[in-house]
Amino acid sequence: MKRGLPSPLLSGVLLALWLLLNQSLSPAHLLLGAVLAIVAPLLARPLMQPIGYPRLAKPVMLIRLLGMALVEIVHSAITVSRLILFPKPDGMNSQFIKIPLDLRNPYGLALLSCLINSTPGTVWVEILPDRHELVLHVFDLHDEQWWVATIKTRYEKPIIDIFHEEIHEENPP
């Protein structure tokens, strides 16, 4: 099964993609979509190898996380808009901050970066190679510790759970 269908999740998503693109549920499209959903990951597999395909341990938690992030995004967007339109007289406190990370799973890191970057006001810069610290740039920084705590508890922890990080990683970072 794994040989022919490396990632059922991905294949499902691709099938959904196909059907959405074609806006049709006709048998022909289902068939074609299924074929593509199987073939495309197979084609891509050699290049995916270092990270493998993602496996979700707790999909529900993912949805909750996304919901939370959505609210955060809207909130931050409004904050940033305000700051752009009405700049503070004494200027913004834009800064780089470092956050030590425990998360190692590449997909987890990607998800984290997606959430952080999608949230206006913060930009993921990089993970410093030697100490595994995340560098963020914050548009208007009030309290560095608050940020560290928020990221670690509200984002990192759920993500670690979602991807159910195992001890024996296929590809240790």
Partner: protein
């Protein structure tokens, strides 16, 4: 009979070809071959005499250029026959002579081959039945004579002489062609018979003078007449047999022959007399005078030839029938004695190793026999009685007296002067036999071999026979020749030695005595033997003038080319752009009119969008020199606006394609940008930009503004006119019913105009192959070989990470997750765009580009080596298969009897899925898709591989072996 003519003319050419194939040292075989050919020719000529001797004209005709009324025509009348005999008889003697003259070390095949070819060409001139063909053979004689003069081409004089002779005579030939064309136009035919019959018509025609001048130019150059005579002395660099043959007996007589040939048509006018006789007089005097002061025996003979040719020309120019007779007669006499003299000079040269008359003395003792022959021939040249030269000169004197009448003696004076000079140079020539023998000769002279002297003996004998018994020996032939020219106007004449005491005889005596006196005086008081320059005439040096002219011509041409042209790109582009603006403005009358602009609601937004596009474009133009990256991004901005415009203005297919092309182009240029040199602004370099540069820039701005305005005006003119009832509607109406798809643009691409698409993917394939081939030999500039600055420092902690490391566990790890995860999505989306193309925006192009970009992203992420170790995309095979799929789809129609690319939609009824339409255009589009993927990948990857290659080799260039072993997979 007519076939004989053909044989006569073909024989020498066949002989020439055979001669060329013989071994280098086959002197005897060559000579025998040449003699056999010539003898056969003589035999044929003898056979032909049975007709020609009766005054008949023998014709041979074969169609050649019927459209222009030009046949391959041979025509033999009396004149032609006589000239044929001249060519063949002297030819035979020269062949024999050449056998002994040429050194055993000389590679003779070439010599005899050229000589025979020349003979053929000369026969062609004489026998041509139409004027165009005559010009052909005329130029052939120039060509062969060029090859013969240059036979000893390792010698500079031979090369110069050959070039000079060819340039002058070939130019004359061009003039002749022009003249003949005019003549043909006047007569309405190039046929010789017609032309000869049309004398009155020609002389009355307004173009007569032009025809005359150009034909005369042809004849005068060939016969070395003033002022074109200078080539002849330089042609003496040829081996002596050549001089004896070409430069005394035959080729130089071609000009004379032409004047004789066209005499009935062209002569008889005041212009004829002025031009022909004028040239004759000048040449005659000049040549004979200059001959006296030559030191080279052959040089003397050459000038004497010039002078005698002048004499003949003068006779022809006089335009009286009797002068004509004299001219023909002297032509033969001159051929006979001059050929023998050349041969004698050749013998002396051959025996003594020099022809310099300042050294040669007292040769009579060593070579009495040759000496006697030479002295007799010289006497003939000087016009001593009892020799042939005397007779024709006598006739000449008579004619000059006749022309001037009793009042005007000038002509007679000129004639006598020429006589005096010729006696003088004849004496100079024979002076080598007298006096005390010198000891400084390069070789000790002896009598030449028996058979080398034989031709001279024959010729001298002829001098005597003709001189003593002209009536029986030569008169019938002469009459035959003259009658064929003059026809009913042939004068009655008889050749006799003794005409009684009369004016011509007096002139002869004066000439003889005067000549001797003149010679003695010159020797005594003028240091004739050592003078370097010809008195009076040394100012005019034709050869120097020629060389200077040729040199100046080259210089002037270089100047002209420089002035009229350029080798730089920028002026050429400027010209192209100026032409783009200027030519329509100049040529098109009236220019299209413009309507008043109408501003509508959505225009403001549109204008705003194009404000962006234009600002980007103008800034890109401004930045492209020093800030390439910025310029590239700015162009990208214009690209986005362009895509959006397509989208907005009802061209979704274009928008999609433009978007993808934008992306690919950006990647492409970024791949290349690395190899360009850094460019610092003048400010950074502290350089002042000169005024000239600013001027140039202002000019270019002007051109750019005018060009831009022109394009804007054109666009506006088009946009404000209603569209014509074009072919566009047709496609819309049939795209669904007959094209099988609802997207008219796609159906156009794969069906209506599938042929275009075929060519288009071929262009892509070609470019990809070219790029690949080019980059295999790519050699980066030394300074761009180094690892980029970004990676050669310690500021960035990951600067030295290897590509695969970056992506798999380095700084690109997180980005890599996105980029890798996106790959299957991109593949599905590419498929989507591909499949829907026929009915909705999309299609093989866009899909191919999406697919290619999807893979390129992986390359950007993990580097060439890593990706290719896992995922071998053999791009060149994709290209091949893409083209083949598309082509075979088109060819499928052949099987059903339809033209290439005819499309058909198969309607399949499948269980569960229902009716599926599979248009053949689908497969065509598949070919397009595959080809586009292959092309894009090949181009981008060939570029990308350069980094890998050049980093592998930090020092030195990629070696050939490494270049050749670059993987085929990309």
């Amino acid at each position: 009979m007519p076939t004989l003519l053909l044989i006569l003319i073909l024989l020498p050419f066949v002989g020439s070809a055979v001669a060329a194939c013989m071994p280098a040292n086959a002197r005897n075989r060559e000579a025998i071959l040449a003699s056999v050919v010539t003898l056969s020719g003589l035999l044929v000529a003898a056979l032909l005499y049975s007709k020609v001797g009766n005054g008949e004209v023998v014709h041979y005709r074969a169609t050649w250029l019927p459209a222009y009324g030009v046949d391959f025509a041979l025509r033999m009348d009396g004149l032609a026959w006589v000239f044929v005999m001249l060519v063949l008889v002297i030819g035979l003697l020269v062949m024999l002579y050449a056998r002994y003259y040429m050194s055993p070390k000389d590679p003779v095949p070439r010599f005899f081959s050229f000589l025979l070819a020349f003979m053929g060409a000369m026969l062609g001139v004489v026998l041509s039945g139409n004027l165009i063909q005559l010009v052909v053979f005329w130029e052939l004689t120039s060509l062969t004579s060029f090859l013969l003069i240059g036979y000893w081409h390792h010698r500079i004089d031979a090369r110069r002489g050959a070039r000079m002779a060819f340039t002058v005579t070939a130019t004359g030939g061009l003039c002749l062609l022009f003249g003949v064309l005019i003549l043909g136009h006047i007569v309405g035919s190039y046929d010789l018979d017609a032309v000869l019959a049309a004398g009155d018509l020609v002389r009355a025609h307004p173009w007569y003078l032009a025809a005359l001048i150009f034909i005369a130019l042809g004849a005068l150059t060939k016969s070395a007449q003033f002022p074109f005579h200078f080539w002849l002395p330089h042609a003496m660099a040829a081996p002596t047999p050549v001089s004896a043959y070409l430069h005394s007996a035959t080729m130089v007589k071609a000009g004379v022959f032409l004047l004789i040939r066209l005499w009935p048509t062209l002569s008889g006018s005041q212009e004829w007399v002025w031009i022909i006789a004028g040239a004759g007089i000048c040449t005659m005097l000049l040549g004979s005078f200059a001959a006296i002061f030559q030191h080279d025996m052959k040089g003397l003979l050459a000038y004497s030839t010039i002078s005698h040719l002048g004499l003949i020309t003068l006779l022809l120019g006089l335009g009286t029938p009797l002068a004509m007779v004299a001219a023909v007669f002297h032509t033969f006499n001159h051929a006979i004695f001059k050929a023998s003299l050349f041969m004698a000079a050749g013998i002396i040269d051959h025996e003594c190793g020099t022809r310099d008359m300042r050294i040669l003395r007292g040769l009579y003792r060593q070579m009495p026999f040759t000496g006697t022959l030479a002295i007799v021939a010289s006497a003939a040249m000087a016009g001593v009685p009892l020799l042939n030269g005397f007779l024709s000169k006598e006739m000449f004197f008579a004619e000059t007296a006749l022309v001037g009448g009793t009042e005007d003696w000038s002509m007679s004076v000129v004639a006598v002067m020429m006589g005096i000079f010729s006696v003088a140079y004849s004496l100079r020539f024979i002076s080598v036999f007298f006096g005390k023998p010198t000891q400084v000769l390069p070789k000790m002279p002896h009598e030449p071999p028996r058979w080398m002297r034989f031709p001279v003996e024959i010729l001298v004998l002829l001098c005597l026979v003709v001189g003593i018994a002209p009536g029986p020996s030569v008169e019938p032939t002469l009459k035959l020749a003259v009658a064929s020219v003059l026809g009913e106007h042939t004068p009655a004449f008889s050749l006799q030695i003794w005409h009684g005491f009369n004016v011509p005889l007096l002139k002869s005596v004066i000439a003889l005595l005067g000549g001797i006196t003149f010679y003695v005086l010159l020797r005594k008081y003028f240091a004739l033997a050592t003078r370097d320059k010809t008195p009076l005439l040394n100012r005019f040096n034709g050869a120097q003038a020629y060389e200077t002219t040729i040199l100046r011509l080259g210089v002037a041409a270089s100047w002209l080319v420089k002035w009229l042209g350029t080798q730089r790109l920028q002026p050429q582009m400027l010209l192209l752009m100026v032409a783009l603006v200027g030519i329509p403005l100049l040529l098109v009358q009236p220019l299209p009119k413009f309507a008043k602009p109408v501003i509508a609601g959505s225009d403001a937004l549109f204008a705003l969008m194009w404000l962006i596009g234009c600002a980007c474009a103008v800034t890109a133009a401004w930045q492209a020199k020093y800030h390439r990256l910025a310029a590239l991004m700015l162009v990208g901005g214009t690209g986005i606006v362009t895509s959006l415009t397509f989208l907005w203005l009802s061209a979704p297919d274009l928008a999609l394609t433009q978007l993808m092309v934008e992306t690919v182009t950006t990647v492409l240029i970024l791949l290349g940008l690395r190899w360009l040199p850094p460019r610092l602004t003048p400010r950074e370099l502290n350089i002042q930009v000169s005024h000239r540069v600013w001027l140039r820039r202002s000019r270019d701005i002007l051109v750019a503004v005018v060009g831009g305005l022109g394009m804007a005006a054109l666009s506006y003119a088009v946009l404000t006119r209603p569209a014509p009832q074009g072919i566009g509607d047709f496609f819309l109406l049939r795209t669904l019913s007959e094209g099988g798809g609802s997207n008219a643009v796609n159906v156009l691409l794969v069906d209506f105009r599938g042929f275009d698409t075929m060519g288009e993917i071929t262009v892509l394939a070609i470019v990809a192959l070219t790029v690949y081939a080019l980059l295999r030999r790519f050699r980066p500039a030394p300074e761009s070989m180094a690892i980029p600055a970004q990676r050669a420092n310690d500021v960035d902690p990951v600067a030295r990470q290897a590509p695969a490391q970056q992506a798999n566990n380095g700084y690109l790890l997180v980005s890599g997750v996105y980029l890798r995860f996106l790959l299957p999505f991109m593949i599905v989306v590419a498929t989507y765009f591909f499949l829907r193309g026929h009915n909705l925006p999309g299609g093989g192009f866009v899909a191919g580009l999406i697919f290619a970009v999807a893979i390129i992203v992986q390359y950007m992420l993990a580097g060439t080596v890593w990706v290719e170790s896992r995922f071998g995309l053999r791009a060149h095979l994709w290209i091949a298969y893409g083209l083949v799929i598309a082509c075979l789809t088109g060819l499928g129609a052949f099987l059903f009897g339809y033209p290439f690319l005819t499309s058909h939609t198969a309607r399949l009824h499948l269980p569960l899925l229902g009716e599926i339409h599979v248009p053949s255009a689908f497969f065509f589009d598949l070919g397009v898709f595959v080809a586009v993927v292959g092309t894009t990948m090949l181009i981008l990857l060939a570029l990308a591989h350069q980094s890998v290659r050049s980093h592998r080799l930090p020092q030195g260039m990629p070696t050939a072996a490494q270049t050749a072993s670059a993987p085929e997979t990309i």
